[in-house]
Symmetry: C2
Subunit: 204 residues, 2 copies
DNA sequence: CCGAAATCAAACTGAACAGTTTGGTTTGGC
DNA sequence: GCCAAACCAAACTGTTCAGTTTGATTTCGG
């Protein structure tokens, strides 16, 4: 089979989308390959033409979604930070966007899958590291670095300062966000701004 | 059967221990009831005399371990806080104990189980809320309240101030701690103390 | 419009596993 | 030392599911 033809790529993508939908809906072990095939609108046989195994499919799908996260949910533009008030605005925006994304049903379902499967599926660890760490830690750290260079914040350890900012947001995700889908309580923006306010006292 | 006799209670406990060991070792869906029976040194039939189903057993075991967490790993004595230096010491100790416990192999395995099974096992949500939230948030919040009453910290929102403290610790657990068991990198105490130092600037 | 590649539907295989049944053995209170 | 409750080992049931096989149908480049 010409697995690299235009047609084949389309089929591959079609399967990926069906599989993703199924996995997000019912988790990995709760999703049979028959169901994946049905969701993708594809015969089971074709499934196995394009993916060697369920695990193969899972790694491919999760890798794909993580790789495309930035276009699906742009976190923040790389902006320089001129003064304290400006930094407050940027951090407020980052916090808000971050919490809303991380606590969306889709993202939370993704977390459950990762954490559940990471222990048994080797390839997922590396992908996980690119999800929250690379995506959020690095971005926030970049902002803080600019701020430090501009003299807006003190000469703090950037990694720790970043954790001090990301951490409180994570409490919402992992302490309040892991309820059953639909029952998740997202904090309002005012509370996040209060955290930003506290945070600024620590680093400026 | 006299399920409340001394003997029966011992068997129940024996089964619980075997099941816990098995679940921590291989996860829930990776553990067959035959294997639980073997681990507990009990026949499969006896298993089903004491627990109606696998789900039943899981809820009982996890509920039990969470309920006994305080004696297994006493977090901190309820101490009053007299001044800033004293608060620093208390928070440093809390941070250190907390991170070491949360990042132990046993605790991390527990997290994986919770997060993986919470979606499909109704009873676990309530138990989870008692693990991190009730245990850590409430304890830290109590310390901060004392400190606030003593005038050691400002008049901040206690819930948010607590999240600002717990959050950075959680970054270590959830960003660095979810690697494969044995590959987990626990931060050293000095780094935690630096966070405490940053934190104190925010709340005092 | 032909034919090879791609796809499909459906039945099949083999293993895993939750929960049950059977029938025999141990234990401990009296 | 009896006997009933508790326990055990092992076979069995029914189901689910990953992955395969078969054989027919569709698609599309030439």
């Amino acid at each position: 089979m010409e697995l690299d033809s235009r047609r084949a790529q389309a089929k591959r993508e079609q399967i990926r989308q069906g599989a993703l939908a199924a996995f997000l809906e019912s988790g990995v072990s709760g999703t049979s390959m028959d169901h994946v095939a049905a969701c993708a609108g594809v015969s089971k046989q074709t499934l196995y033409v394009y993916f060697r195994s369920k695990e193969d499919l899972l790694v491919d799908v999760l890798g794909g979604i993580v790789a495309s996260l930035d276009e699906r949910a742009p976190l923040l533009a790389d902006r320089t930070v001129t003064d304290r008030e400006h930094l407050r605005e940027v951090l407020s925006e980052v916090a808000w966007v971050m919490v809303r994304h991380l606590m969306s049903d889709e993202y939370l379902a993704l977390f459950r899958i990762f954490i559940a499967e990471m222990a048994t599926t080797p390839g997922l660890l590396a992908i996980w590291r690119e999800t929250v760490p690379a995506r959020f830690l690095a971005r926030v750290e970049a902002v803080l670095q600019r701020a430090r260079e501009a003299g807006v914040i003190r000469d703090v350890d950037l990694d720790l300062a970043t954790r001090l900012f990301i951490g409180p947001m994570m409490t919402f995700v992992f302490l309040d966000g892991l309820a059953r889908p639909g029952e998740v309580l997202v904090p309002n923006r005012k509370r996040l701004d209060q955290i930003v306010e506290l945070y600024l006292r620590a680093v400026t």
